[in-house]
């Protein structure tokens, strides 16, 4: 539908065709770029950075969240830091990271991990604290010790919130990554592809790149998180779907 409207507007020639390519051209460019391997190469480079950065962020975030949820002392000290850091857009650190870590992959990956860690930590913390006291009581009544309670009650009990955190973290990581690729001059990557195409006014390439970015984002959500949730928290009835 939107494609139809777009195409009509373009055909009417209201706007310069150079800046507003028709749907046919975008699709053709998309096909060409997939065919000659340019888009897949860029997408793979971006995904690899995402995987490493997000894994880093998830590990740090979950650990921080658990520590904050289990120890009052850690909560008092870490929570203010996390709540001030959380609303700062990860991208705002990008120039700083470039100064500290140079250009290229390192600052991009670190920044992605950094940005992802906050929502993961906050949600893990919420989840650990929201574990129902009656579960813990039941477990105690059945003779569970401190460590068993943690492993068999607190961890699964907090999982729905941890999942939410990972989801938000990944979404954030994805957004930051695309933008940061424009700023740190990585050699390959979707963000870089779009940004570079601007120099040549190659709007069709840009739109094709944007489409891939949207598709990958959607794919991560549908292919990674939904099955994971179906197998765990939805199966357990802990999340209404």
């Amino acid at each position: 539908m939107v494609a139809l409207v777009w195409q009509t507007v373009v055909m009417l020639g209201v706007m310069p065709a150079r800046l507003f390519p028709g749907v046919d051209r975008v699709v053709a460019t998309f096909g060409r770029l997939v065919g000659n391997g340019v888009l897949p190469t860029h997408a793979l480079a971006t995904l690899a950075r995402l995987a490493v950065g997000f894994a880093l962020g998830a590990i740090v975030g979950v650990t921080l969240g658990i520590v904050m949820g289990r120890s009052r002392w850690a909560e008092d000290v870490l929570l203010p830091l996390v709540s001030v850091g959380n609303p700062i857009p990860g991208l705002a650190y990008a120039p700083l990271f470039v100064i500290w870590f140079g250009l290229g992959n390192l600052p991009a990956v670190l920044l992605v991990g950094f940005a992802a860690a906050f929502p993961v930590a906050v949600n893990t913390w919420t989840g650990v604290r929201a574990v129902k006291p009656i579960w813990i009581r039941s477990a105690i009544a059945m003779g569970a010790g401190e460590r068993q309670i943690f492993r068999k009650v607190v961890l699964p009990g907090a999982l729905p919130a941890v999942m939410t955190g990972l989801r938000l973290g990944l979404a954030r990581a994805w957004r930051v990554l695309v933008a940061v690729e424009m700023l740190t001059s990585v050699p390959l990557g979707l963000g870089w592809l779009i940004f570079g195409a601007r120099e040549f006014l190659a709007t069709d390439v840009m739109l094709a790149g944007i489409a891939v970015i949207g598709l990958v984002g959607l794919g991560l959500e549908k292919l990674v998180f939904e099955p994971l949730e179906r197998l765990t928290v939805v199966r357990w009835g802990m999340l209404a779907r």
Binding site: V77, P87, L96, N123, R175, V178, A179, L183, M206, I210
Partner: protein
Amino acid sequence: MRRSGVRTVVGALVAFGVVALGWEVFARSGSLPPAITPPVEAIAAALARMIGDGTLFVHVGYTLGRIAAGLGLAALAGVPLGMLMGRFRPVERFVLPLVSVLSPIPSLAWVPLFILWFGLGNTASVALVFYAALFPLILNTWTGVCSVNRLWIRAAESMGARSGAIFRHVVLPGALPFVIAGLRQAFARGWIAVVGGEMIAATRWGLGWVIFDSKEFLNTDVMLGSLAVIGLLGLGVERLVFAALERRTVERWGLVRRTSA
């Protein structure tokens, strides 16, 4: 909040104290040049300088203005659209596929294209905020209208309310918690978009632009100072505007289910 206020404040002070101290030791150890890791007082001085000559306020003003304009436009477009989607099937069928395709695309991916379309400057940044804020607003409003308790509508009908009155007195207030949640999300996304957009697309003013511009001259003190301002402003708006809004309306009615991040 069960935690006592004093404990929270002390905890926060300890936290920031430790971080500041750690930073100071690291900065003064000379393991990295001070231009890259400026000590705390340099950051404070940079902030004071920017406050003194008034530039900080201009930057903040531009940034807030852009996000307000973008968010306002998005609310004007998104909330009615979400309402229409919730009330009329055909609208829902037409708009929903569009929204679900466009909303996962990070707003910043559009920056280069927006620059080409709108040029550098305010329009591109505002458009970016508009784009980032629009989808959470549409989706949340739509969900809100759809999930208004049917019993309330039946009760209103049995008391003789017409469809206009039902919309105004039942659907609108019933959907409000979701609209507010949507505004909150929209602000969070818009905040990222405006800072990111300013880095790439702004010409002279705005907090994002300051950070990016300082990189050229290795003014790390200015960068860190602006970062702090961005964080405090984001937190402030979230806490003061949205929390207050929620307290005044939906929390009073006991409607709120806790919304996370």
